[in-house]
C-alpha cells in the first residue's frame, strides 16, 4: 500500500507546483465580434497571452455593439463585470463617480509613461476625472465632409476645390440640387438633416460654446444665433421635402452611395464604406465647412478596469498593452480605426495616405460634447430644442430657454438624490 501513498503525495506536489506557477486569468469584453476586427483582436490577445512576462491569461468575450451595453450594464449591477472592458469614451466620469472603475494613474506612473504626450489630447482629456486617469483612450473618430466629384463636375464646379466655408457650401449645393417634376428633391447638394451632421458641430463652427464658467448653458446668445441660422437654412430647403428625401434612404440604402447627395458629413471611416459598397462613386473628402472656425465632433471607445477586480494590476497591464504603439498601429493599418496613440497614428507610412492624414489633422479641431456629471445626457435636451424649432416652428429662444430649464431641473434632481 505504500506505493499508493507515494503516488498520492507525488501527484499532490506536482499539482501544487503547477498551481503556483499557473497564470492569472483575467476577463476582457470588447465589441469586435465579427470580420477582420474579430480576427485581429483574437490574434492580439493570443500574442499577449503567449508573450507577457507576468503570466497573465486573457479570456476575451466579443459582443456585438447592439447588445454590448445592456449586457455590460446588467453584469455591473450584479457585480460580475469583466476585469477589463471597452466602454464609451464620452462618459467615463459617471462610472468613476459611481466607483465602478479603477484609478489607472498608479499603473501609468509605474511604467514611467508620459500619457499626456503619448495620446491625442482631446480623447485623453475625456479619460480624466478629478485629476486622475480612469480610462485609456482606445479608439476615436472625427466627422468630415465627403463630396461626390462627378456631381461637382456635372454642376460645373471644380472637383478639386471643395467648399471651405458654410457660405460656399450652400453656393455649391444649390448648383448641384435637382428637382423632380413634382418639385421633390431628386439630387440634393447638401442636407443638414442627413448623415452625421449635427447642430452642435455648427455651433462650434460659428465659435459658440456650451459652457459658461464651467457650467452648461444651452441658451447663450451664440447658440441662439446658431439655431436661428440653422432653422433658416432648413426652412429655405423645405423641411417636409428634406424628410421625404431622407425617408427614401432609410433602409440600408444611402443617399450619398446612390449618387443622390452631393455632399455629406460622415465619420472618418466612411471612405472605406464608399470603396466597399459604391466603388464607382468618385469621392473627395475635406474638413467640414465652417462659418467662423474649423470644428468637428469626436466620440470613441475607452478601456476601463473594474475597481472590484481582484486582478486590477494585470487588467491594467493588458489595457496598456492594447494602447501600446505596436498594437495601435495594427488597428490603424488593418481596420483603419483612428487610434489614440500618437506614435502609431503619426506612422510615416500611414501619413502618406491623404485620407488618414486628414483625419489625424482634423483631431486638433475636434472636440467631444462636454461632460456634465449631473446631467450626462444634456445634449438630448438640446436636440429636443432643435427638433421643436425645426419641426414645430417653436420660437428659437424659447425652445433653448426651455431646454436650459430642463437641464437645470436634471442637475437639481441629481443633487437632491446624491446628497
Amino acid at each position: 500500500m505504500k506505493w499508493v501513498l507515494k503516488l498520492l503525495v507525488g501527484s499532490l506536489v506536482v499539482l501544487l507546483v503547477t498551481l503556483s506557477f499557473a497564470s492569472t486569468r483575467i476577463t476582457f469584453w470588447h465589441m469586435y465580434d465579427s470580420g477582420p476586427g474579430k480576427e485581429l483582436m483574437d490574434e492580439i490577445i493570443k500574442e499577449f497571452n503567449e508573450t507577457n512576462e507576468l503570466g497573465i491569461e486573457v479570456k476575451a468575450l466579443a459582443i456585438s455593439f447592439w447588445d454590448y451595453w445592456d449586457k455590460l450594464g446588467v453584469a455591473m449591477a450584479a457585480g460580475e463585470e469583466p476585469d477589463v472592458f471597452m466602454h464609451d469614451l464620452g462618459n467615463v466620469p459617471s462610472r468613476a463617480y459611481k466607483g465602478i472603475i479603477a484609478d489607472l494613474t498608479p499603473y501609468i506612473e509605474a511604467r514611467g509613461m508620459d500619457a499626456d504626450k503619448l495620446f491625442f489630447e482631446v480623447p485623453f482629456s475625456m479619460c480624466k476625472w478629478e485629476g486622475k486617469v480612469y480610462a485609456l483612450p482606445f479608439e476615436t473618430d472625427v466627422r468630415l465632409l465627403y463630396y461626390n466629384k462627378d456631381l461637382f463636375k456635372l454642376a460645373g464646379l471644380d472637383p478639386e476645390r471643395p467648399p471651405k466655408t458654410w457660405k460656399e457650401l450652400w453656393e455649391y449645393a444649390d448648383k448641384i440640387t435637382k428637382k423632380t417634376a413634382e418639385g421633390e428633391y431628386d439630387i440634393l447638394g447638401f442636407n443638414p438633416l442627413y448623415g452625421q451632421s449635427y447642430f452642435w458641430i455648427y455651433v462650434w463652427g460659428i465659435g459658440g460654446t456650451f459652457l459658461e464658467n464651467g457650467k452648461i448653458k444651452v441658451n447663450n446668445p451664440s447658440i441662439v444665433k446658431a439655431l436661428e441660422e440653422w432653422v433658416a437654412m432648413l426652412k429655405k430647403l423645405g423641411i417636409k421635402k428634406l424628410q421625404n428625401f431622407n425617408a427614401k434612404y432609410g433602409w440600408g440604402s444611402d443617399a450619398f452611395l446612390s449618387g443622390k447627395l452631393g455632399m455629406v458629413i460622415q465619420v472618418g471611416q466612411y471612405g472605406s464604406t464608399i470603396r466597399t459598397f459604391a466603388p464607382n462613386v468618385n469621392y473627395g473628402v475635406t474638413y467640414i465647412p465652417y462659418p467662423a472656425r474649423k470644428a468637428t465632433w469626436s466620440n470613441g471607445f475607452s478601456l476601463e478596469v473594474s475597481s472590484r477586480s481582484e486582478h486590477r494590476k494585470e487588467a491594467a497591464e493588458f489595457a496598456l498593452y492594447l494602447v501600446s504603439k505596436e498594437v495601435q498601429l495594427l488597428f490603424a493599418q488593418k481596420l483603419n480605426s483612428l487610434v489614440c496613440n500618437k506614435e502609431a497614428a503619426f506612422d510615416p507610412t500611414l501619413m502618406q495616405n491623404p485620407e488618414w492624414k486628414l483625419q489625424v489633422n482634423a483631431l486638433q479641431y475636434s472636440r467631444f460634447r462636454p461632460f456634465v456629471l449631473e446631467a450626462p445626457t444634456w445634449y438630448e435636451e438640446l436636440q429636443k430644442a432643435v427638433d421643436e424649432a425645426v419641426l414645430k416652428g417653436k420660437d428659437v429662444k424659447r425652445a433653448l430657454d426651455d431646454a436650459q430649464k430642463r437641464i437645470e431641473a436634471e442637475i437639481l434632481r441629481f443633487k437632491m438624490t446624491n446628497k
Binding site: 455591473m76 459611481k98 466607483g99 425617408a247 429636443k384 431641473a409 438624490t417
Partner: protein
C-alpha cells in the same frame, strides 16, 4: 368515530400532497414575482444606481416626479392617449366585425382565421413591416396620394406618431373578435325569436338584445385592454425610440430607459409604482361608467 378520524387524516394527507405539488409554483411566485415587486417598492424610496447599495431618500423620488419632471407627465399623457385611443377603437371595430362574421352564412371559419392570424405572428417582424407601411413614401401614403390626399409623415411627425401606433394596434383585433364571436353564440336564440315575433327590426335587436347581452364581455375586453395598453413598450422601443419629440415616450419606455440606460433604478421604481397605483382607480372608474351605461347581470 374511527371512520371519521380516518377521513380527516386522509384529507390532511391529500392537502399535504397538494401543497407539495404546488410548492415549486409557490416558491416561484414568492421569489421571482412577489419579492421583486416588494423590493421595487422599497427601491422607489431610495437612490439605487445598480452598483452601489441603495441609499434611503424618503419621498424624494416622488417629490421629483410631481414637481420637477414634466417629461414624466408627458409620458403619462402619451400613455393615456394610447390607452383610450387603441382600446376603444379596437373594441368598437372588433364588435362590428364580430357581428358581421356571426351573421355570415358562409366563410365564417375562413375569415375568423384570417382575422386571428396576425395575433399569432411574432411582433418584431410585424413592426418592421408597419414601419415600411408608415414610411412617408410607403404604401399607405401612396394609397392616399391615389385619392389626391397628401399623407402625413406618420412616425416622423410628433402629431401623427401616436395615431399611427394606434392604427397599428388594430392589427391585434383578432383576439377580441374571437372572444366576441363566442359570446355572440352564447346569446339564447329564443330572445331573438321573441323579438322578431314582436316585430322588432335589426337595429332594435342589436341595441336591445345583442349589446346588453354582450356587455359583460365588452367590459372584460375594455378592462384587460386598458391594462395591457398601459404597458405599451415594444412598439415605441423598436419603431420610434420614443420620438419624435418624445411623442411616443410611454411610461414603460421611460422606466426602461431610466433604469437600464441611465442607471436610475430608484426613480424608475417610483414611476412604476405610480403607474400601478393609478391603474387601480382607473379600472374602478371604468367599471362604474360601464355599470351606468350597460346592464350587467
Amino acid at each position: 368515530m374511527a371512520e371519521r378520524q380516518h377521513r380527516k387524516l386522509l384529507k390532511h394527507k391529500q392537502n399535504t400532497i397538494g401543497y407539495l405539488f404546488a410548492f415549486s409554483w409557490i416558491v416561484n411566485l414568492l421569489v421571482f414575482v412577489l419579492f421583486p415587486i416588494a423590493f421595487s417598492a422599497y427601491l422607489s424610496f431610495t437612490r439605487y444606481d445598480g452598483v452601489n447599495p441603495p441609499k434611503w431618500l424618503g419621498l424624494t423620488n416622488y417629490k421629483i416626479m410631481f414637481t420637477l419632471d414634466p417629461s414624466f407627465w408627458k409620458a403619462f399623457g402619451n400613455t393615456l392617449y394610447y390607452m383610450f385611443g387603441s382600446v376603444f377603437l379596437k373594441v368598437f371595430i372588433s364588435l362590428i366585425l364580430a357581428v358581421i362574421l356571426n351573421n355570415a352564412r358562409k366563410g365564417m371559419g375562413v375569415f375568423r382565421t384570417i382575422f386571428f392570424l396576425p395575433v399569432v405572428l411574432p411582433v418584431v417582424p410585424v413592426m418592421f413591416l408597419w414601419m415600411m407601411l408608415f414610411n412617408p413614401n410607403g404604401l399607405i401614403n401612396r394609397f392616399l396620394a391615389f385619392f389626391g390626399i397628401p399623407g402625413p409623415l406618420w412616425l416622423n411627425s410628433p402629431a401623427w406618431s401616436k395615431p399611427a401606433l394606434i392604427m397599428m394596434s388594430l392589427w391585434g383585433v383578432g383576439g377580441i373578435i374571437v372572444i366576441f364571436l363566442a359570446a355572440l353564440q352564447d346569446i339564447p336564440r329564443n330572445l331573438y325569436e321573441a323579438a322578431q315575433l314582436d316585430g322588432a327590426n335589426s337595429v332594435h335587436i342589436f341595441f336591445r338584445i345583442t349589446l346588453p347581452m354582450l356587455s359583460p364581455v365588452i367590459l372584460f375586453c375594455v378592462v384587460t385592454g386598458f391594462i395591457s395598453a398601459s404597458q405599451v413598450f415594444a412598439e415605441a422601443y423598436i419603431m420610434t425610440g420614443g420620438g419624435p419629440l418624445e411623442s411616443t415616450t410611454f411610461v414603460n419606455l421611460k422606466i426602461y430607459l431610466l433604469a437600464f440606460k441611465q442607471g436610475d433604478m430608484g426613480y424608475a421604481s417610483a414611476m412604476a409604482w405610480f403607474m400601478f397605483l393609478i391603474m387601480v382607480p382607473l379600472t374602478i372608474v371604468v367599471f362604474r361608467v360601464f355599470r351606468k351605461w350597460l346592464t350587467i347581470d
